[in-house]
Symmetry: C2
Subunit: 490 residues, 2 copies
C-alpha cells in the first residue's frame, strides 16, 4: 500500500484535531510512529489537499498516532492507524489502548457518543423520565443479557444493548416473542485492500457479533446496507467496487450467512451489492433473506434509489423490481425496506399491506445529510402501519484513495462524512429503543411481542379508518399526465 491512503486518513485526523483543539491552522504538526520515528509525508502528499496543512500543538508531538511502520494485518503491507485497530487487538499495549481511546474521540470529530447518553448525564431523574416519555414513549424493560455475551462484546469492542417491547396477555393467542438483532459496524480494512480480503475481514467481524447475538437468543438478525463493502458509491468509480457484487443465491457472502443461519438457528437478513448473472449480469442493491433452516428464502431489492449529493447510486444500480414482498419466517413475517426507501411512506405502507410484522431498514447515511430525519421516518412508519421497524446505519468514516467531488461547490475530498450509527427499533405504539452509539460498532438485541401489532391496530384502527379505496382512486388519477391539482382559488 502506498502512503497515499494513509496520508488521507492522517489528513482527516489532523482536520478533526484542528477543529477540536482550535490550533492555529498555520502551525505544523509532526506525527510520531509507534517505534519513535517521525512520519514524513512527501511534499506532493502534503499539498494534495488544503486540509493537508500540518499542525503542531504547543511545540509537542502527538505520540502514537500511527501504529507500526510498514507491518500489517495478516502479513499484508497495511499500515493501519492505531485508531482503526479493534480494542482487543493482541498487540495493543495498555498505553496504546489509552492513546487509542483519545484518538477515537478525536476521530469521531469530537461528536458526542449518543443523544441518550447526554440526556441521562445531565437531566435530573424526575424530569428525565418525562423527557424520555415524550421522546421515546413508554419506558422499556431491559433484556437480561447473559454475562458471557456482555464479556464477549466488551472484549470484541462493540456496544451491546437489549430491550423488551411487551404486549398485553391475550386469552386465545400466546405471546409471540421474537428477538431481533441489529448490527452496525465500521469497515475493517482500508478501502484499497484487496476486495476479497475486505469481504473476509467483514465476515470475520460481523461473524463474531452474530456469535454474541446467538448467546442473547436472537432469532432474526439484520446487517447494515451493503455490509460486505465500503459504501463506495460516492466515488462513481467502477473498479474495484463492482467486484464486491455477488450472486444473491450462491455468492460467497450468502453461503457465509447460510452457515451462520444453520449454526445459530437464526434468520439472517444480508443486504449486499447483487450481481444478477442470469439477467444480463445486472447490479442491484439487494437484501438476501436466509431462513433459520439455512435455505435462501428469497431476495428483495431496494425500491427507491437516491440521487442525493454523494449518493448518486443509479451510477451502479437502478430501482428494484421485486415489489413489496414479505417473507414468512418461523419467527414472524418480515420485510426489508432498504435505506432511501425509508423516506417514502408508500414504501413502508405497501410492505405493511402485504402483512409485514417487522420491517428492517438497513441503511448507510451520514450526519450532515440526514441525521435530524433519522429518528423520524422509521418510527413514523411503525406508528402508521401498526408494525415494528428496525433502523440500522453503519458507523465510522470511510476514506477513498481517489478524491471526488460532491456537487456542492466544495473542494474534492476523500470521504463523505461520518456514518452516525444510532440504530434503533420502533414499535407500533410510538415507543422506541434508545439508539446505539453514534461512533462505535454495536449490536442491539430487542425482544418483540408481535401480538402488540394487532393490539395497537385494534386500538388505533388506522387500517380500518385509512380509506384506501379513496386513495387508490385519487392516486390513480394523480399519476395521469392530464392530472389537474384540486386547487381552490378566490
Amino acid at each position: 500500500m502506498d502512503l497515499f491512503n494513509l496520508n488521507c486518513r492522517i489528513m482527516n485526523f489532523i482536520h478533526c484535531l484542528k477543529e477540536r483543539c482550535k490550533v492555529d491552522p498555520q502551525d505544523r504538526v509532526d506525527l510520531m510512529g509507534r517505534s519513535g520515528e517521525l512520519m514524513h509525508l512527501t511534499e506532493r502528499e502534503q499539498s494534495a489537499e488544503p486540509a493537508c496543512t500540518l499542525l503542531r500543538e504547543r511545540q509537542t508531538y502527538i505520540p502514537l498516532l500511527v501504529y507500526g511502520t510498514s507491518e500489517g494485518n495478516e502479513g499484508e503491507k497495511y499500515v493501519p492507524l492505531l485508531a482503526d485497530l479493534p480494542n482487543s487487538h493482541p498487540e495493543l499495549t495498555e498505553e496504546d489502548f489509552k492513546a487509542k481511546q483519545e484518538i477515537d474521540q478525536v476521530m469521531s470529530g469530537g461528536q458526542f457518543e449518543s443523544l441518550e447518553k447526554t440526556l441521562s448525564t445531565y437531566i435530573p431523574e424526575a424530569e428525565l423520565s418525562e423527557v424520555c416519555r415524550v421522546l421515546y414513549g413508554k419506558e422499556l424493560v431491559r433484556v437480561d443479557l447473559p454475562r458471557q455475551a456482555l464479556e464477549a462484546a466488551s472484549a470484541r469492542d462493540f456496544e451491546l444493548q437489549g430491550y423488551v417491547f411487551e404486549a398485553e396477555p391475550e386469552q386465545l393467542r400466546p405471546a409471540r416473542l421474537v428477538r431481533v438483532g441489529l448490527v452496525q459496524n465500521k469497515i475493517v480494512l482500508p478501502t484499497d485492500a484487496p476486495v476479497l480480503d475486505q469481504i473476509k475481514a467483514l465476515h470475520k467481524r460481523v461473524g463474531e457479533m452474530v456469535e454474541v447475538a446467538a448467546m442473547c437468543g436472537v432469532n432474526i438478525i439484520c446487517f447494515q446496507e451493503a455490509w460486505t463493502m465500503p459504501f463506495a458509491f460516492c466515488t462513481r468509480e467502477r473498479e474495484p467496487w463492482t467486484e464486491f457484487a455477488e450472486s444473491a443465491e450462491e455468492g460467497y457472502t450468502t453461503r457465509f450467512c447460510q452457515e451462520l443461519a444453520k449454526k445459530y438457528n437464526m434468520v439472517v437478513v444480508s443486504p449486499i451489492l447483487e450481481r444478477d448473472e442470469i439477467h444480463g449480469e445486472t447490479l442491484w442493491n439487494t437484501a438476501v433473506v436466509v431462513s433459520n433452516s439455512g435455505k435462501v428464502l428469497g431476495k428483495t431489492r431496494k425500491n427507491h434509489i437516491p440521487r442525493v449529493g454523494d449518493f448518486n447510486e443509479s451510477t451502479y444500480y437502478m430501482e428494484g423490481n421485486t415489489g413489496h414482498r414479505v417473507f414468512q419466517t418461523q419467527f414472524g413475517r418480515i420485510a426489508v425496506n432498504i435505506c432511501y426507501g425509508r423516506h417514502h411512506p408508500l414504501n413502508w405502507f405497501l410492505y405493511g399491506l402485504n402483512g409485514a410484522e417487522i420491517i428492517f431498514n438497513p441503511s448507510a447515511t451520514v450526519g450532515a445529510l440526514s441525521e435530524p430525519m433519522w429518528s423520524i421516518e422509521a418510527r413514523n412508519a411503525a406508528i402508521a402501519n401498526h408494525c415494528f421497524t428496525c433502523a440500522i446505519n453503519r458507523v465510522g468514516t470511510e476514506y477513498f484513495k481517489n478524491e471526488f467531488t460532491s456537487g456542492d461547490g466544495k473542494k474534492a475530498h476523500h470521504d463523505f462524512g461520518h456514518f452516525y450509527g444510532s440504530s434503533y427499533v420502533a414499535a407500533p405504539d410510538g415507543s422506541r429503543t434508545p439508539g446505539l452509539s453514534r461512533t462505535r460498532d454495536g449490536l442491539l438485541v430487542t425482544e418483540l411481542d408481535l401480538n402488540l401489532n394487532r393490539q395497537i391496530a385494534d386500538k388505533w384502527n388506522f387500517k380500518m379508518t385509512g380509506r384506501y379505496d379513496m386513495y387508490a382512486e385519487e392516486l390513480s388519477k394523480a399519476v395521469q399526465h392530464e392530472f389537474q391539482p384540486n386547487i381552490i382559488r378566490e
Copy 2:
C-alpha cells in the same frame, strides 16, 4: 351554576395535589375561599367520585384555592377557580398572583413546561447544540418580535415565540416569505356555561391573540381543532355540544373570522364543528378558510375520524367528503389535515400531490394517548412531501359535568386528560421549531421562505423517485376483496 362542576374541578385539583405532595390519601383537606370562608362540599358531592376524598396537608389549609364565592364573570354566576383566571385579570392581587402560579403548577399535574426548557436548563451549551441538531435539525434564527407584541402577550398571559426558516437566494425567483401564526389555547369558561357565552369568550380570547399576531406581521393564522368549544366528543352526549355547530359559510364564528381577516389582512383558518344546513343538517368537523380579503375561500373536512378511547367522534360526524383540496391564497397554497388525519401518511401525501406548500394540522390530543407520536407525524409529513407542516394542539384539562367512561376498565370520570399543547412548525429539510408550552396558551409566529420546498425537492427528489405509478397499481390491487398479500414461504 351548581356546585357540581366546581366540585369536579376541585376534585381534580386535589387529585393532582395528592400526587404531587404525596399526602396520605386518607387525610382531609379543607379549601378556603378568597374571602376566608371554607368551601363546604355536600356529602353527595364528596362521595361522587373516589378522588373526592378530601386531603389535608400537614394540618394547614390551602389558601386561595377558590376565587370569590358566587360572583362571576360578566355578572354570571360562575365561580371560577383562581387557576382559571388569566394572569391579567384586573381583580388579581399580587398575593393572588403568586398563589395562582403555584396552583397552575399543581393543576398541570406537576408536568414540566416543555421538553425544550428542560433540555436548555440542564445540558451544557456545547453538547446542547449537538442535541438540538439531532432533535430539531438546523438552528433557526429567531424572529425579532416587536416589543409591543411581547408586552401584549405577557399582559394577556400567553407565550409568544418566533422563528425563521430561511432558504437559499435564487436568481430567478425572489424569496417567497410568509409568516404563519399557530394559536393554542385553553377554553375560557366552564363547559356548562351557556353555549353562546362560551363561544363569545373564546372569540374574545383568540381575538386578542390574533391582534398580537397582526403586530408580528402574521399573514396566515390557524386555530386549534374545534376551537369554539370544549372538546366534548368524549362525553357522547348530544346536548349541548351539537349546539356549538355552525354554518361554515355564514355562521357566527365565520363572520367573526371574516372581520379579523379584513382588519388584519390575514388569511384565517378556522376549524369548527360544522352544521351543513343544506345537506340534511349534517354535522362535520371542518376547517373554514377565510381569505385575507374577508371572503370565505372555502372549507375542507376532516378525512379520517377516530374511534380511539374517548375519541369516538363518529358519534357526531363522519369521514369528510371534500377530498384533498388545496387553497390558493395570496401568501401561498395551503391545506388543512385535521387532527387524526396526521396518523395517515396518505392523507398528507394527497394534499402534497395537489400542490400544498403549507399543511396545517389543527388537533386536540392528550398526553397519555399520543404524546410520543406528536413530534413524529407532522414532521415526517414535511420531510416526505417537501412542504411545511404546522401542528397545533390545545392546552389544559376540560371538565364535564356528567361523568363518562373511556372503555378502558377504569372508573367513570369527568375529564379526559391534559391537552399538552406543544404546537410546532416543521420544514421539508427535517428541521423544526421548538414546541410551544405544554401547559400555557401560546402563539407561535414562524416566517417561512416557501422557496425552500422546491430547493429541498430538487435536492432529495422524493417526488421523482417516488414511483407513484407503481403504487397506484399496487394499491388498486390491494383494495380488491380477492387481494392476496405477496408473501414468500419456505
